[in-house]
C-alpha cells in the first residue's frame, strides 16, 4: 500500500514570530524554519505503519518555494522513500495547496493520505478536509490512533465527549492530532541517506491545476499586549508545595485567607 504524506515548511515552534512593521505578514528572513509539527506526527505514523508492514511505500509531498525542499529532505530522513515538490514561490492559499495535493494523490494512485491536522503558521485546519472534498474520498480528522485492516482504516479521534472511533474505506484522507505518536529523533546516517533519495519537482501546470484563490489577507497584527498581572499566592509555603520559580520570584505570599481577602478588597477585586 502506498501512502502519501504532506509536509509544510513553517516557522519553528520555538521561534517568537515578529509581525512585519507594515502588517503584511510575519518576518521569516533569518528565522528558523521547520517541518510543521503535526506533519511530523503524520510522517512518523507513516513510518510506523511501514515498519508494521501495513505500508510498502511512503511518498512525501510539499507545496512551496525552493527552500521547502529542506523540509522534504527531513521527511526523507524520517523514512519517506521519495518526495514530490510542487514548486510555487508565491502566496499559497489552502485551496490551492489542497488542489495540488489532491492532484499528486491521484497521480500517485496512493491508498492513504496522511496530513497534519493543521499547520502552526496559519492554523487554517482545512487542507485535509478540502483534499477529501476535491477527491470525494472519506476523511477522518484529528486522529489519535490509526489501525489499518485490509481495505479499511479504524481511526480514533479525540472529541469533546471522549474518544470516537471511525471506520473508513480506503483510499481515505486522515489528519493527525498531537497524541497520535511522538516523532523519533532523526539519526545522522538517515539524514545523509536522505540526501540521495529521489526528489521530483513539479509545477501547478504540470499537475493541471489552476490554483484557486478566494482569501485576501487584510492585515496581520500582534495581539495587544496585556498589562502585567500580579500574583497573589496563599499557603504555598505552609502546604509544603513549592510554587514554580516565576511565581516564587514575583508573587506576594499570604498566610491566611483573611490576609488574602483584605488584599483583594484593597484592589477592589472582591
Amino acid at each position: 500500500m502506498k501512502v502519501l504524506v504532506s509536509v509544510k515548511r513553517v516557522a519553528d515552534s520555538n521561534v517568537r514570530v515578529q509581525v512585519k512593521p507594515d502588517g503584511s505578514g510575519v518576518v521569516t528572513d533569518g528565522v528558523k524554519m521547520s517541518m510543521n509539527p503535526f506533519d511530523e506526527i503524520a510522517m512518523e505514523e507513516a513510518v510506523r505503519l511501514k515498519e508494521k508492514g501495513a505500508v510498502t511505500e511512503i511518498v512525501a509531498v510539499t507545496v512551496g518555494g525552493d527552500k521547502s525542499q529542506e523540509t522534504l529532505r527531513t521527511a526523507l530522513a524520517f523514512g519517506a522513500d521519495r518526495a514530490v515538490h510542487v514548486k510555487e514561490d508565491g502566496d499559497i492559499q489552502p485551496l490551492a495547496a489542497a488542489q495540488a495535493l489532491a492532484a499528486v494523490f491521484k497521480k500517485e494512485d496512493a491508498k492513504l493520505f496522511l496530513l497534519g491536522k493543521q499547520a502552526i503558521d496559519d492554523d487554517a485546519n482545512q487542507t485535509g478536509q478540502m483534499v477529501a472534498g476535491l477527491l470525494d474520498l472519506p476523511q477522518a480528522t484529528f486522529a489519535s490512533k490509526i489501525e489499518i485492516d485490509g481495505d479499511k482504516a479504524k481511526v480514533t479521534r479525540e472529541v469533546d465527549a471522549g474518544l470516537e472511533t471511525l471506520e473508513v474505506d480506503l483510499p481515505a484522507i486522515i489528519t493527525a492530532d498531537l497524541r497520535l505518536n511522538e516523532p523519533r529523533y532523526l539519526k545522522l546516517p538517515d539524514i545523509i541517506k536522505a540526501k540521495k533519495k529521489p526528489l521530483e519537482a513539479v509545477s501547478f501546470a504540470d499537475l493541471g491545476v489552476t490554483p484557486g484563490a478566494g482569501l485576501k489577507v487584510v492585515k496581520i497584527a500582534s495581539p495587544p499586549t496585556r498589562n502585567q498581572g500580579e500574583m497573589l499566592v496563599m499557603g504555598a509555603r505552609e502546604s509544603g508545595i513549592a510554587a514554580p520559580p516565576p511565581i516564587r520570584r514575583t508573587a506576594e505570599m499570604f498566610k491566611t485567607v483573611d490576609e488574602l481577602i483584605a488584599k483583594l478588597k484593597e484592589k477592589s477585586l472582591v
Binding site: 519553528d12 520555538n14 515578529q18 529523533y185 539519526k187 545522522l188 545523509i192 520570584r249
Partner: protein, 550 residues
C-alpha cells in the same frame, strides 16, 4: 554496558558552525578543489540550525572575508550597512556623558571600511557557501566528547538523544555517533566545553596567562525611522560600570530600522552583588541611548561570554590530531572588540595547514605545527600583538588611567611599546567577600526600555527538551550553599543572564536550584563560579537559544 555506536569517517571534522568553523570548512574545500581532489569535511553544530547560537555585536572587519570569498558582494553576503560614523562616549553618570573628540579616540576604535552586521545572518550565509562546496553540516548534533586514542584526538562523539533526566533511555532513544577524522578542528567559541578539556589534557596553557573573559548582553530593537541612522556606531565606557568592574557598551544601527544595543561586563568584576543583566537594563535609560530606543520595540535578547585575554592568554593551538580555532583558542582582539575576522582567519589558517598535509597523502593524527606558524606570520596575530596590553592595562590601572595608557600605546606607538603587561589572576578569583561588598540596587524595569529577566529570556526563544539530564554539572553539589552562599551570596543568581541559578528557601532552608532549560549557552557560570564547581556540558542537540539574527 558499552553503547553500540555507528561510525562515520571524514578527513576533517569541525566542531561548531560559527565564523571560525565555517571558514575552515570552506577553505578546506577550496584548497582540495584547486588540485582536483576530494576532502570529506563535516561540521557538527549544537544549535537547532546554523546561526541559532550565534550572538555578536557586531561591527565586522571584512579583511578575512575578502581573503576567503573575494566576490562576497556578488554572492549576496549580508554586509548591508557600511559604518558611516563612529561616536565614542564616556558615560559619567545616569544622565551625563561626554563625547570623546575623534582625535583622542584610540586608533583601534575607528571603523571606516567596516560594516554593521548581524553575525547570525552572515554565518547562515557562510553555511550556504560551505554546503555549496560540498561541506556536510549537521545542525542539532552536539559534540559531547572527543575520541582520544593512541595519544591523539581522532574525532568526536555526538550526544545521545532521548535520555531522560534520571538517565534512563526514553522511547526513541538514539545513541550518539562516532565521527572519526584525520584532523578535528574545535570551533566551539569562547570557553568551549571540549576546548576546555583539551587545553587541560594537553596543557596547552602552560606558557600563557590565564584566559580572561567578559559577558556580553545584547538586544535587538526596531526603532522609529526618524531616529534610525544606518551605519552609525556608538561605543561607550564608564557608567553603569565603574573603575572596579570595567567593560563597555555599544549601540549599532543596522538596516531595516534595527538597532543592536549591548553591554559588555568584564568577568574580572569584584562585587559579588553585581548583576550584568541589571546593569544592562539600567544602561538603556541613559539619555544617549534612550533617545534611539524610545518609541521602539525590543525584538530579541541574548547573552554570550567572550574571550578577551588576547595574545598573553592565547594557549597553544595544536595537539596531536587537531587544533583550536577562533574563540575556542581566544583570537579576539579586545582593543577593537572584534573577533569575527580573526576567528575566520585562524580557521582558514588551520584549514590550510590541514589541507597541506592531507592533500600530500597524510594520515593525520599528528600536530598541525604549520598552523601556529602561519598564524604567527599573519595579520591576525599582528593585530593581537598590538593590542596585547589593552585588557591588562584596564585591569591594572582601572578604567581612566587604563584608557589613557591605551591611547598612548595605540596612537603613539601603534601597540608596539617594548613591554607587555600581564594579568595572571583568573576571573574566578576576583570576587570580594559579600560582607566586604556594597549591595547593589537595580531599578524596577519600566517595561518600555528595561525589562525583567524572565521576559528577556523568553525573547531568546530558548528551548531544551524538558526531560533530559541537567547539563550544568556540579562537581560538589554542596558548595553553592555551604561556601558560595555565605561567602559571596551565591553570585550565580546574578551573573547568569538567563535565570538558570536560584537559591530558594524552603522552611527557611536554602536550596540551590538549577533551571537548566533557561540556559542560553553563554558559559559565564563555567567561568565565574568562584569555586570552579560548575561545568557546562552540551545538552541534547538542538537545545538552547534560537537566535534569528543576533
Amino acid at each position: 554496558m558499552p553503547v553500540e555506536r555507528d561510525v562515520m569517517e571524514y578527513d576533517v571534522i569541525v566542531v561548531g558552525a560559527g565564523p571560525a568553523g565555517l571558514s575552515a570548512a570552506i577553505r578546506l574545500k577550496q584548497l582540495a578543489g584547486k588540485v582536483g581532489k576530494e576532502l570529506g569535511v563535516c561540521v557538527v553544530e549544537k544549535g537547532s540550525e546554523v546561526g541559532a547560537h550565534i550572538l555578536s555585536g557586531a561591527v565586522f572587519d571584512p579583511h578575512a572575508l575578502n581573503e576567503l570569498i573575494p566576490d562576497w558582494k556578488n554572492k549576496g553576503a549580508p554586509l548591508l550597512s557600511p559604518v558611516t560614523r563612529d561616536e565614542i562616549y564616556f558615560f559619567l553618570s545616569a544622565d551625563k556623558a561626554v563625547k570623546v573628540p575623534n582625535l583622542l579616540v584610540p586608533k583601534t576604535m575607528h571603523n571606516e571600511g567596516n560594516y554593521v552586521i548581524s553575525l547570525g545572518k552572515l554565518v547562515r550565509w557562510l553555511g550556504e557557501q560551505a554546503e555549496a562546496l560540498g561541506v556536510e553540516i549537521y545542525p542539532g548534533f552536539a559534540a559531547q566528547d572527543y575520541i582520544f586514542e593512541d595519544g591523539a584526538v581522532r574525532g568526536i562523539v555526538t550526544g545521545d538523544m532521548g535520555v531522560a533526566r534520571d538517565g534512563h533511555h526514553k522511547d526513541g532513544y538514539a545513541p550518539g555517533m562516532e565521527l572519526r577524522a584525520k584532523y578535528t578542528l574545535f570551533a566551539e567559541g569562547c570557553r568551549g566545553h571540549l576546548g576546555k578539556r583539551l587545553i587541560a589534557q594537553f596543557k596547552l596553557d602552560a606558557d600563557s596567562d590565564p584566559q580572561h573573559y567578559a559577558i556580553g548582553l545584547k538586544e535587538l530593537w526596531e526603532i522609529p525611522t526618524d531616529e534610525h541612522q544606518p551605519g552609525l556606531v556608538v561605543h561607550g565606557a564608564g557608567w553603569p560600570l565603574d573603575n572596579t568592574s570595567p567593560g563597555g557598551s555599544f549601540l549599532y544601527h543596522l538596516e531595516n530600522n534595527q538597532v543592536a544595543v549591548g553591554l559588555i561586563v568584564d568577568l574580572s568584576y569584584s562585587n559579588p552583588y553585581l548583576q550584568p543583566f541589571g546593569e544592562f537594563q539600567r544602561f538603556k535609560h541613559h539619555p544617549v541611548i534612550r533617545r534611539y530606543l524610545e518609541g521602539g520595540k525590543r525584538i530579541a535578547y541574548g547573552a554570550r561570554a567572550m574571550t578577551k585575554g588576547g595574545l598573553n592568554s592565547l594557549p597553544k593551538m595544536v595537539f596531536p590530531g587537531g587544533a583550536l580555532i577562533g574563540c575556542d583558542a581566544g583570537t579576539l582582539v579586545y582593543s577593537k572588540i572584534k573577533g569575527n575576522h580573526t576567528a575566520m582567519k585562524s580557521g582558514m589558517l588551520a584549514a590550510e595547514a590541514a589541507a597541506e598535509r592531507l592533500l600530500a597523502g597524510g594520515e593525520g593524527a599528528d600536530k598541525l605545527t604549520t598552523y601556529p606558524e602561519r598564524y604567527k606570520a599573519s595579520w591576525a596575530h599582528d593585530e593581537l600583538y598590538r593590542s596585547r596590553n589593552f585588557g591588562s592595562a584596564m585591569h591594572k590601572f582601572g578604567m581612566w588611567l587604563g584608557a589613557a595608557f591605551v591611547y598612548i600605546d595605540q596612537n603613539g606607538f601603534g601597540g608596539k611599546l617594548p613591554f607587555t603587561l600581564h594579568d595572571r589572576k583568573p576571573d574566578f578569583k576576583t570576587l570580594k567577600l559579600a560582607a566586604e561588598s556594597k549591595k547593589l540596587d537595580y531599578p524596577k524595569p519600566d517595561g518600555k526600555l528595561s525589562f525583567d529577566l524572565l521576559s528577556s529570556v523568553f525573547m531568546s526563544s530558548t528551548n531544551h527538551a524538558e526531560d533530559q539530564p541537567v547539563h550544568l554539572l556540579l562537581k560538589d553539589p554542596a558548595i553553592p550553599i555551604r561556601e558560595n552562599l555565605p561567602n559571596y551570596d551565591e553570585p550565580a543568581q546574578r551573573y547568569c543572564p538567563a535565570g538558570v541559578y536560584e537559591v530558594v528557601y524552603e522552611d527557611g532552608k536554602p536550596r540551590f536550584q538549577i533551571n537548566a532549560q533557561n540556559c542560553v549557552h553563554c558559559k559565564t557560570c563555567d567561568i565565574k563560579d568562584p569555586a570552579q564547581n560548575i561545568t557546562w556540558v552540551a545538552p541534547e542537540g538542538g537545545g538552547g537559544p534560537n537566535y534569528s539574527a543576533m
